[in-house]
Symmetry: C2
Subunit: 767 residues, 2 copies
């Protein structure tokens, strides 16, 4: 049974009632972020119940010393992980001498959380009866400004319900925080300097080793019935890593008292002097004030939604799911800064270290290409270009030569920071996705300039890797790739993983073609690059030998490509016949049992069909989909979206809808029983794909948009927008018809079910 306490709502995530048991799940689900920073929905006031405290700053990481059993050559010494950042949200509250703590109140009623996705704020309200008999009503709103992205705002209101209350507000900032997943229980922050002046305070700390400097700041204003009391702190407690102010007020029964706390971070990634930057940030925030900042927040989110919203009519849970996914993606990454990337948990947890995985290229780029300016996707590509030297170094550590590049499996700064040999050394398919993203970017945007400027060097490094990584098998009289882990991580160290072999061949072929094209169309770039990387004709010939003679495992009996050599030796019991008590198998079975079973975490043969759909016939897709779907347990968050898309292609609409719900509500309904640790951000882009590419059937072929619209029987209609080459196309699909409308100045020819349709600006076309 999955969790189901989140109230269905078109625009908000709502929880009603307080439950210790689900506090950590809610802390994940109600997380807020603004691309530059983010935090779990921890309470501002002290809370002694189970909680997972987390506040994160984009791009700030710590190279934690790795923890392994037996060391293997080539393992990285450090695992770069996102840091739990200093706390700026904390406000201890005293009511008539008693510390407010939801874990110790006599009763709590009308507890409610709302994450308003439309307007970008998080609100919490409750009534509590304290041990000392005081009853209060509390309303807290918090948001992280999209416009001033170093600034967050909290408005914390208290109304005594049954008597007068002396309220002490004790807002603080604290750099004395730790990571739950610290390998060696070390502190990651070194306090440097503490400053406070009137209602403002600053704690500057830097990370050990990486020496990122961060000033955490706060500014506080106390109100009575919304009137500024112009109070100064009556007490200041300052240590070397924490400052806490105390403000005492007395509120009559029924009278509203409140504190507005502004806080946030300024970081050395962006400022020479983080302290003066923090002082500036407070000045800018005060100049606007809480109300204006909130109005601007609503406007900024309206602008994001204007472009990226997907509407679904007649299915509130489906609507809530897709908006939650789109909202979280935008909270995590807005594409402003090519030094940043998209961590699998965004700002909602520590797991996976906040680092960059192949998820970005394989799943996230299509979403950002279609819903943002194309510069955003280009920034994501540039991130890898900037790390090419380190990818070459990484390959050298593993014995490759001649500029071969192996991008890390997990990285913060371009260096590998994962160490399980079967993943770090063997899950090399990631290199393929990075090349595919370059192809995909050009296919979608038509912006070829990236390739001669930057992409070709990346492609050459990757092609060189595959060329060296394959070896000639006299047995097959073809080239083979031995000892890999494919995207299906429930197989380790296999030979000839179909997906890996296929994308390896494709990478070489595609790079070869781009070298020809650049040589003809961008000769000076061609000269610059080939001289820099010392490319010879002999080398290119040798690449082609490998690509033209790659071995692909295939079953004549089943008429499917084989996931890897030997797959048919398994005991091929389908998932449908697997005892339910054994699932999820990753929580029930030992690793060897998973490995020798036929069960698939995410089907990588199908991932190959997804990337290279046009290389295969629909019959082939059907054959392979039906074969592998039967063995797939979808214990990867990246699995259901691809299945949903392919089920739609194959007109298996019930299945497509089931997979859609699973991907879109993976976290809200906690399918994988792990949302406490954070949300699955990167797979949320897959949810977007499952509507746009799955139901909508969007493809780009020959520089044109194609759609083959389908609609689940549960829906009345749905709509989405696509930024296609700087023109915004809105697509609305109902049970009967498809409507197309265009913003911009030019006409656009799109294809619906293969038929060319001319769409003119501001002129609705119905098909």
């Amino acid at each position: 049974m999955n969790q189901d306490y989140i109230k269905p709502d078109n625009w908000s995530i709502i929880e009603e009632g307080f439950d210790f048991e689900r506090a950590k799940s809610s802390e994940s689900l109600f997380s807020i972020g603004n691309g530059a920073m983010g935090q779990r929905a921890n309470f501002e006031e002290n809370y002694t119940g189970p909680t997972f405290q987390g506040s994160y700053i984009a791009g700030i990481y710590y190279p934690d010393k790795t923890k392994v059993g037996w060391w293997k050559n080539g393992y990285p010494e450090y695992f770069a992980k996102v840091l739990n950042a200093p706390n700026w949200i904390g406000i201890d509250i005293e009511i008539n001498g008693e510390n407010l703590d939801l874990a110790t109140c006599k009763t709590i009623s009308n507890f409610r959380r709302e994450l308003n996705m439309k307007e970008g704020w998080y609100h919490r309200s409750f009534e509590a009866s304290l041990q000392n008999g005081t009853e209060i009503s509390v309303n807290v709103r918090r948001f992280l400004s999209l416009d001033l992205d170093e600034v967050g705002m909290i408005n914390y209101e208290i109304i005594p319900l049954n008597k007068e209350a002396k309220i002490v507000y004790k807002p603080y900032i604290d750099a004395g925080v730790t990571n739950e997943d610290a390998n060696w229980d070390e502190k990651f922050w070194e306090p440097l300097e503490v400053k406070h002046l009137e209602n403002e305070a600053f704690v500057t700390a830097r990370t050990f080793k990486t020496h990122f400097k961060v000033t955490t700041f706060m500014q506080n204003t106390i109100f009575a019935n919304d009137k500024d009391l112009n109070l100064s702190p009556e007490k200041v407690d300052a240590s070397n890593d924490k400052v806490q102010f105390s403000y005492s007020v007395t509120a009559a029964q029924g009278e509203k008292s409140s504190i507005q706390k502004m806080g946030g971070y300024t970081v050395s990634l962006n400022h020479e002097n983080t302290l003066s930057a923090a002082e500036n940030a407070i000045q800018k925030g005060l100049a606007k004030g809480y109300d204006q900042l909130l109005q601007e927040q609503i406007a900024a989110w309206a602008k994001i939604w204007e472009m990226s919203d997907i509407t679904i009519e007649g299915d509130v849970k489906a609507q809530q799911g897709i908006r939650f996914n789109i909202f979280q993606l935008n909270q995590t990454y807005l594409g402003k800064d090519s030094r940043l990337n998209i961590g699998p948990k965004g700002f909602t947890g520590e797991k996976y270290g906040g680092s960059t995985y192949w998820d970005t290229e394989a799943y996230c780029i299509p979403f950002y290409m279609a819903t943002k300016d194309q510069q955003v996707a280009r920034n994501l590509l540039t991130y890898r270009y900037n790390q090419l030297d380190k990818a070459i170094e990484n390959a050298e550590k593993l014995g490759f030569t001649n500029g071969a590049a192996l991008y890390p499996m997990v990285t913060m700064n371009g260096e590998e920071c994962h160490n399980e040999w079967e993943i770090t050394f063997e899950e090399i398919h990631r290199n393929g996705a990075i090349a595919f993203a370059i192809f995909n970017y050009y296919r979608f945007t038509g912006d070829y300039s990236y390739i001669p400027e930057k992409g070709l060097e990346v492609l050459i490094g990757i092609a060189r890797f595959w060329h060296q990584r394959a070896n000639y098998s006299t047995n097959h009289n073809q080239y083979v790739i031995l000892g890999v882990t494919g995207p299906n991580e429930y197989e380790n160290n296999v030979n000839n993983n179909f997906y890996t072999n296929y994308i390896a061949k494709w990478c070489i072929d595609y790079t070869y073609e781009q070298i020809q094209k650049v040589s003809l169309e961008y000769p000076s770039d061609h000269k610059r690059i080939t001289e820099k990387v010392k490319l010879t004709h002999t080398e290119l010939h040798s690449w082609k030998q490998v690509a033209d003679n790659m071995y692909f495992p295939y079953s004549e009996e089943h008429k499917v490509y084989l996931q890897q050599d030997g797959f048919l030796d398994k005991d091929l019991v389908k998932v449908a016949n697997l005892d339910k008590s054994q699932r999820p198998i990753n929580q029930k079975w030992s690793w060897d049992r998973i490995l020798r079973s036929p069960y698939i975490k995410q089907a990588d043969v199908l991932q190959c069909f997804y990337f290279f759909e046009e290389h295969f016939s629909k019959d082939e897709l059907k054959q392979n989909f039906e074969f592998y779907e039967a063995f797939t347990v979808h214990e990867s968050s990246l699995s259901p979206c691809v299945h949903s898309i392919q089920a739609a292609v194959l007109d298996k609409m019930d299945m497509a809808y089931t997979f859609y719900l699973r991907t879109s509500r993976l976290d809200l309904d906690d399918y994988n029983k792990e949302v406490e640790e954070g949300c699955h951000i990167t797979s949320m882009a897959g949810t977007w794909m499952s509507i746009v590419e799955g139901f909508g059937g969007m493809r780009v072929k020959n520089d044109a948009l194609h759609f083959s619209p389908k609609i689940p029987k549960e829906w009345n209609g749905y709509s989405f927008k696509i930024n296609f080459r700087n023109q915004i196309l809105k697509v609305s699909i109902s049970q009967n018809e498809t409507k197309l409308s265009l913003e911009g100045s030019k006409t656009l020819t799109v294809f619906v079910n293969g038929k060319a349709i001319l769409v003119e600006p501001d002129n609705l076309v119905t098909v």
Copy 2:
């Protein structure tokens, strides 16, 4: 270049000259042990140079919390490791106010170590000039009594060479020790009680968690020119885990001063009250005194050598090598106690946790069967019988049912304590060696009684495991075993490892036969066992299905069994063509590169041919040997011995001799560049096999000994003794002839090169 500082000598290991760089190597090589305890050759006096301190007690272990990267289901929580035990050898020495420390002396000359293997003692002597100008000559002898195996003796003599010296002897015992390989830098010993009285002191401590109690004791006597001075300590420093005495004497120039320190351990494995046991141990030791204990030591070792010595004429290095191996095996394990087993490093280091591996059954048992009373081998078998319940639990953790047993890869107490999935969960071939040892024990000793009494239950648990572990492949129409690591650990998670499949089938077949035999010959045992384990005819039938239809990978092209599926897809470059700078590959290459290479740590197809030689023709052996030898890098200490034996069978005598030298002098010449960490004890039994089974060609067939004597051209002759069913046969082989002589009362028919020879007691036969 291997190390070569050990002086060739027939009976001793000798080092001359002092070198910081090799101090840790020598600490390993000069280790002493008596089966119950042992220690590295650490100096008694304080030494501030590089040192690896180690003293170990058989059977005393600590379950250290495991350290892994990403946790996998089924991993054990603890890694039981041998403990660095409290120090009882320490004697700080002050000479005219200066602390004696070989790292700070002005000069050291005539430094010499000798490990006298014939007599079982370790001696160290040197002359040193101290910073204060005093010159001294030092002689230290140390031994661990074989007869009083809780007692060790040190005789530490000092002669001032250039002036009178005030000497302060400060002997101590200290439980404040740590393991170098502690995963979390924790202390493993909890001090309980300290006691001292006159010249005796006792520190009682117990291990955390396992609560083994150990009293470490010492008793000291001070001499001048060998005359007991009847001194009592003038000063006692006692803390909660250490006692140190001080004795001051003045020695004139040229006058010998000495301390005799008796010390050791009494443990709760053997005594209710370890403190009174320690007092008793001292009394027993004092009753005999140093000189008598030394004489008894020499006599005890003479008795061991009388049975287990191998002589080699005309090749001092070969002679020294084999004696070093036999000596270390006897220092490590004497077979008195079925709770004990043989750790891969014996008492010479911490690595591999002092635990039990398959090495015992695969390599050590033949040595102990042939050179000890048969009860010793039976004790080693019983060790596994006693752990059967835990092997069944271990299999259950991995999803097996119905009493299937999987013995742990690494264990102290029957529980698995290793956690690398590719080894812990997949190196399941260990189960085969445990069954093979039962077969081998009966084949050699003729003692069938072990099987109905104990062995059959073990065999049934193992057969059940293999039956469940194999699965039917519709592809092959046979049973396959997927996802294993064979004895060649340079392949992980492979399918159909030939060795594993073969021994799995053999285990089932052999168990099936023994069930029939026991049912006919020991019907009441049969009834008892089959009722206990609930064995049915249907189950037996199902076993046979698997055994009779097991798949074995084979290459028609090369006419060899394939190490595993897909082996021929590799880039088959032979070791001879591998750049020498790349070796040892386990220090030069990343793990994935090793895995996809054809290089073999130890050839497991050949291991199968070694165990089941009679199942294959000599042509098959030749074909497989030549194929696999070309890819084998012998980076396992267990590899060269099997190659030496098979090279001898195939009349490749130069190769056999080269492999013999490599196995016998692996540690003395430090082939694998790791002797600092300790010696490779278990593979030393392989060295013995390479002479007796390799050159001597000893086999047991149909209850009779067979020999096919061969001799390397470098040797004049060699001889060994075999305890065959309580008769001692001595075999002497020269370039021209083989001589056989027999102790005992009955005649014995042995076969030499297939010809039956009747040997009568005390009547030399020359062939």
